[in-house]
C-alpha cells in the first residue's frame, strides 16, 4: 500500500511552547472552512513506525472442552472455567433450523423456538419470565433465516445454575405451545412487519439476500403477512417433536461448572429426550450470479445511500477459506483495511465501510458496503470498484500481507477473555467435522497464505461483471449514478418492483 506524505509540521506540543505562533501558522497554511465541495481533501494515512511494538506474536493454546455423548446421542462440550461465578449454555439443534422449513411454512422454525418460552406443562409464560428474571439469568431461543440450527441459549450465575438450568430443560422438553400465546406472537410479528421497513439496514439485507441467494432459503430475511397467517399450533408441535433431535444437536457449556458432575446431571435431566428419526434435506447450494444486476430501493428523504455489493463465494470447508480470510481483512476487515482508509480516512464519504463474507455449510456471499452520504454515492462506487480492481490486479505487498496475517493470528489471544468464545471455536470444529487440532493449526495455515493466493481468490470471487449491486436511498438523486453500472431495477420500500429491468 502506498502511504501518502503527511503534514507533520503542526503538532499540538508546539502550542505549549508558542501557542499563538503555531495557531497562526495553521491559519496561514490552510483555509479554515470545510472542503466538502472542492474535491478530495489531502488527508492521507501515514506510518512513522516509532511506536514500541513486540515483534513476537503471543501464541495461545485454546483450551479444549471435555467432550461427551449422552445415551440419547446428544453431543456435549463442556469448558470448565472458574475465573468467574458464571455459566453460559448454547444448544444448537442441527435439524430444527429455518433452512429446512418447507417453502410454504416460512418462519416455522423461528416461531417454534420463540414459543418455547411461552408455556410448558408446569409453567405459564409469565412464570417462566419471572423465574428467569428473578434468578438474574437469561434465556432465549430462535432460528435465523438461512440457519440449519435452532439455537437455545442460557446464561447466569453458577451458584443458582441448577435452578435456571431446570427452566432451560423444561422449555426444551415440555413446551405446550399455548394457542392464545401463539396468537399473541403472530400479532407481534405482524406489527413488526411494517416497522422494520423504516430501516435502511433491513431494506438492504432484504434486497441483497434475494439478489445473491435466488431460490435458496437464505434469500428470505423476514416473515410475511401470508406466512404468519399459515403458522398453526399443530405445525409448531410437529416441528418440535420431529426436529428437536438430540442426535443432531450440540450442547455447549462454558464456565463455572464441574464437567464430571454435570454430565451425570445431564443424563438425568435429559432422560426423557428421545432420539427421533429425521434426515434434514439440505437445499441445493446457491450458485454465484452470472450477470451483473443493479437494484435500487427508493427510500424517499434518505440523506445517505446504503450500499451492498457482492456475490456468492465459498462455504466454510472450502480450500479457499484461509486466503479469503486474509483477502477480506486487507480489503475491508476493519479500521486499517483499504476500504476504510480510502473511503473514510481519505475521502470522508462515510462513517464506516467494511467487507465480510458468510461461509456456512453452503456457500454464502462476500459483501462490501456501508452508508455513504447521498452526494458521495458516485464517488463511493468509483472507489469500491477501484479497490476491487486493485486487489484483483495487483499482488498485495509483502508488508501488507505480513501485517494482515499477523493481525489475524495475534487477535486469538483476546478470545481467551471469554469462555463462551473459546467454546464457540470447539462448536465450529464439531459442526463442520474439522480435525481436533483445527484451531491449533489455524495460525500456521493463515501464515502460509501467499500474495498469489490472495490475488487468486480476489480474481475468482470479486468479479465485477457479475457483481450484485444493491443501493437503498433517494432514487431521485442516485438513479442516474447507478445507471452507469447497468440497467437499474427500482423497488419501493415495500419490496414492490416499480420499474427497470425484470428480475
Amino acid at each position: 500500500m502506498k502511504l501518502g506524505q503527511g503534514n507533520h509540521s503542526q503538532i499540538f506540543s508546539r502550542w505549549k511552547v508558542c501557542l499563538t505562533g503555531a495557531a497562526a501558522l495553521l491559519v496561514a497554511v490552510f483555509p479554515l472552512q470545510g472542503q466538502e465541495s472542492v474535491g478530495t481533501p489531502s488527508s492521507r494515512v501515514e506510518r512513522f513506525n516509532k511506536a514500541p511494538v513486540s515483534r513476537e506474536i503471543l501464541r495461545v493454546k485454546l483450551p479444549r472442552p471435555v467432550e461427551a455423548r449422552l445415551k440419547n446421542g446428544l453431543t456435549v462440550l463442556i469448558l470448565e472455567d472458574h475465573r468467574a461465578p458464571y455459566v453460559t449454555l448454547q444448544l444448537h439443534l442441527g435439524a430444527a433450523g429455518a433452512l429446512f422449513e418447507p417453502t410454504d411454512r416460512i418462519g416455522l422454525a423461528n416461531a417454534t423456538a420463540l414459543m418455547l418460552r411461552e408455556g410448558t406443562k408446569s409453567r405459564s409464560s409469565v412464570q417462566i419470565a419471572e423465574q428467569i428474571d428473578r434468578l438474574g439469568a437469561g434465556l432465549s431461543a430462535g432460528s435465523s433465516f438461512g440457519s440449519p440450527d435452532a439455537v437455545l441459549t442460557g446464561a447466569g450465575l453458577s451458584d443458582n445454575f441448577d435452578e435456571w438450568f431446570a427452566v432451560f430443560v423444561d422449555v426444551l422438553l415440555n413446551p405446550t405451545f399455548p394457542a392464545d400465546e401463539l396468537e399473541k406472537l403472530k400479532q407481534r410479528q405482524r406489527a413488526h412487519l411494517r416497522e422494520q421497513r423504516s430501516s435502511s439496514g433491513f431494506l438492504i439485507s432484504e434486497r441483497f439476500n434475494r439478489a445473491v441467494y435466488g431460490q435458496h432459503p437464505a434469500a428470505q430475511v423476514s416473515v410475511t403477512p401470508e406466512s404468519i397467517d399459515k403458522l398453526t399450533r399443530d405445525a409448531l408441535v410437529q416441528w418440535h417433536r420431529e426436529r428437536y433431535e438430540p442426535g443432531q444437536a450440540i450442547l455447549g457449556i462454558a464456565g463455572d461448572v464441574r464437567a464430571k458432575d454435570l454430565i451425570e446431571k445431564l443424563e438425568r435431566h435429559l432422560l426423557g429426550w428421545k432420539k427421533a428419526d429425521v434426515t434434514p434435506a439440505w437445499p441445493r447450494d446457491p450458485a454465484p450470479s452470472t450477470a451483473r444486476r443493479v437494484l435500487l430501493v427508493d427510500r424517499p428523504n434518505s440523506v445517505q445511500t446504503t450500499l451492498a455489493l457482492g456475490n456468492i463465494a465459498i462455504d466454510r470447508r472450502s480450500a479457499d477459506y484461509m486466503p479469503m480470510v486474509v483477502m477480506n481483512y486487507i480489503l475491508g476487515g476493519g479500521a486499517s483495511s483499504r476500504l476504510f482508509l480510502n473511503l473514510r480516512e481519505e475521502k470522508g464519504y462515510t462513517y464506516g465501510v467494511y467487507s465480510d463474507f458468510s461461509a456456512l455449510r453452503y456457500p454464502g456471499p462476500w459483501r462490501a458496503g456501508g452508508n455513504m452520504r447521498t452526494e458521495a454515492t458516485e464517488g463511493a462506487l468509483r472507489e469500491f470498484f477501484f479497490e476491487f480492481r486493485r486487489i484483483r490486479e495487483e499482488q498485495v505487498t509483502a508488508e501488507e500481507l505480513e501485517a494482515s496475517k499477523r493481525a489475524i493470528v495475534a487477535r486469538f489471544a483476546l478470545s481467551l477473555e471469554q469462555p463462551a468464545r473459546v467454546l464457540g471455536f470447539a462448536i465450529t470444529t464439531q459442526q463442520y467435522g474439522f480435525p481436533a487440532d483445527y484451531w491449533d493449526s489455524y495460525p500456521a495455515r493463515i501464515m502460509a497464505v501467499t500474495a498469489a493466493d490472495v490475488q487468486r481468490v480476489a480474481r475468482k470471487y470479486l468479479n465485477l461483471d457479475t457483481l450484485q449491486m444493491v443501493a437503498v436511498g433517494d432514487a431521485s438523486k442516485i438513479n442516474g449514478v447507478l445507471e452507469k453500472y447497468g440497467k437499474v431495477e427500482v423497488f419501493d420500500t415495500h419490496g414492490t418492483l416499480l420499474g427497470g429491468a425484470q428480475p
Binding site: 503538532i11 492521507r44 419470565a129 399473541k184 462513517y351
Partner: protein
Amino acid sequence: MIAELEITKDWRGAFLAAWLTVSFTASPLAIEAAQPNSAKDRMAATADPARKPAQSDLYDIQFKEFRLKNGLRVLLAEDHRAPTYSICVTYNVGSRDEKPGRTGFAHLFEHLLFQGSENVGKGEHFILVQNNGGSANGTTNADRTNYFETLPANQLELAIFLEADRMRAPNITQANFDNQRLTVQEERRQSYDNRPYGKTYEAVIDLAYDSFPYKHSTIGSMEDLNAATVRDAEEFFRTYYAPNNAVLALVGDFKTDVALDLIIKYFEDIPAQAPPSPPAMTESSQNSERRKSIEDAFAQTPRLDMVYKIPAGNTADWYALDILGHVLSSGVSSRLYQKFVKEKELALSAYADAGERRGPSLFWLSVMARPGTDLAEIEKLLGDELVRLQNEPVADWELKKVQMQLRRQRAERLYSTRSRANALGHFAVYYGDPQLINTIWRKYESMTKADLQRVARLYFKDVNRTVVTTLPKSAAKPQ
C-alpha cells in the same frame, strides 16, 4: 468514535476538590504509601489464574491507585485470568463542556485524536493496534470522553505509548480536521438523520432542559460542526486534555511495577494545566408540563417519549429511581413489557430508564406503538403504571430481580478487561470514587420499598415531565 446517546451526575464539590489535590502531588510511590487501604495485599492473591477466588472477594475488582507528579490519576488492576490487558483513558470533558455554536465539538475532537500525534501517523493508531491483535475505540457522551485499547499482554508498552503520545502532542492538520468533520457528519446522518425516530432524542432533551450543557446532543448540529475550526481544537486540547484532567485505568495481565514504570516513563513529563472551569449545570425546577409533537419521514408507527427530571447519578434518589426503571422494563417479566406488549398488545416495545448523568438527569419512558395505535391510550396506561408505583410497594421478587441482575453484571464483568477498565474510569471521573466498582451494589441494596414509593411520588409529577410524540409523516406513509 462513537457519540453516545444516553448518559449521566454531579458530585461536583468532592470531584473538583479531588482534582485540585491531584495536580500537585509528589511521587507516585508516596501516594501509594499514603493509602493504607490500597489493594496491594489482596492483589497478590488474585495472581494465580487457576485459583478460584474465595467467596468474600468473588466479585471484587482489586486495584491500586497512584498519582503522577502531573496529576494523572492511575488505577492498576493486575489480573492474570487471560493473557490480555485493556487500557482506558477517561477525560473529564464531554459535550456539556461545549460552547454555544460549537455543539458536537467534544466528539469531533475525540475523532481528531485518532488522526495522529507526534510519533504516530494518521490512521496508524488503528493499524498498530489491529496488526498486533488488539482492538481500540473512543466514545464521547455529555459528561466524559474515553479512549481504550485491548491487546495481547506482550504488547503492554504499545497502548501506554499510544495514549501518552496523543495526550502529549496530537497532530491535527486542516486536512485531517476536514476529513473527520465529514466522517462525524456521516455518523450523524447514519445515527440520526437517516433513521426512524432519529430526531426524537434531540427534541426531548431540547425541550426538557433549560441550560445549555444538556440541552444539546453530543453529536451536535451540522451547522455547528461546519463552523468548527482547527483553532477551536487548539483551545479545546489545551483546556481539557491535560493529565490532571484525566484518569488512566489499566486492567489485566501485567506486573503492576512494570506497568507503572512505563506509565511514568511516557506520561509523567506531560505538563499539567490549570484545571478547566466546570460548566454551569444549574437547571431550574420545572413547574409545568412540556409537550411537543414531531413528524418523522421514516417512522412507520407512532412513538411516545415521556421524561421526568431527576437528580444526578450516585445520589440516594437516583439509585431508587434506577431500581424503578428496572422494575418497569428490565426483562420479559417487567411491568411495561407484560402490560403493553403482551397483555394489551398496544406496543412493539416499551422502555424505562433512569439515565445516569453527572448533573440533572432524566427518567426516560419510551413506548413504540403498534401501527395505528392511539398514543393517548398508551399515555394513559403509562400514567397508571407510574401511579401504581406511587401507591403500592413493589413486590419482593421485583427487588430481588434487580439485585440478582446486578450480581450477574458484576460476575460477567470479571471476564472482560475492557469492561472493568472503562468502569473504573467512569466511576473515577463521574464521582471521584473508583471503588464504586465494588461498592455500588450496596447502594442499591440499601434502598427500601418505602424509598421507591417516596421517589415515585416526588418525581413522577405531571408538572415535572416532558412529553414528545413522534408521528409518521403523512407524506411518507405507505400508499
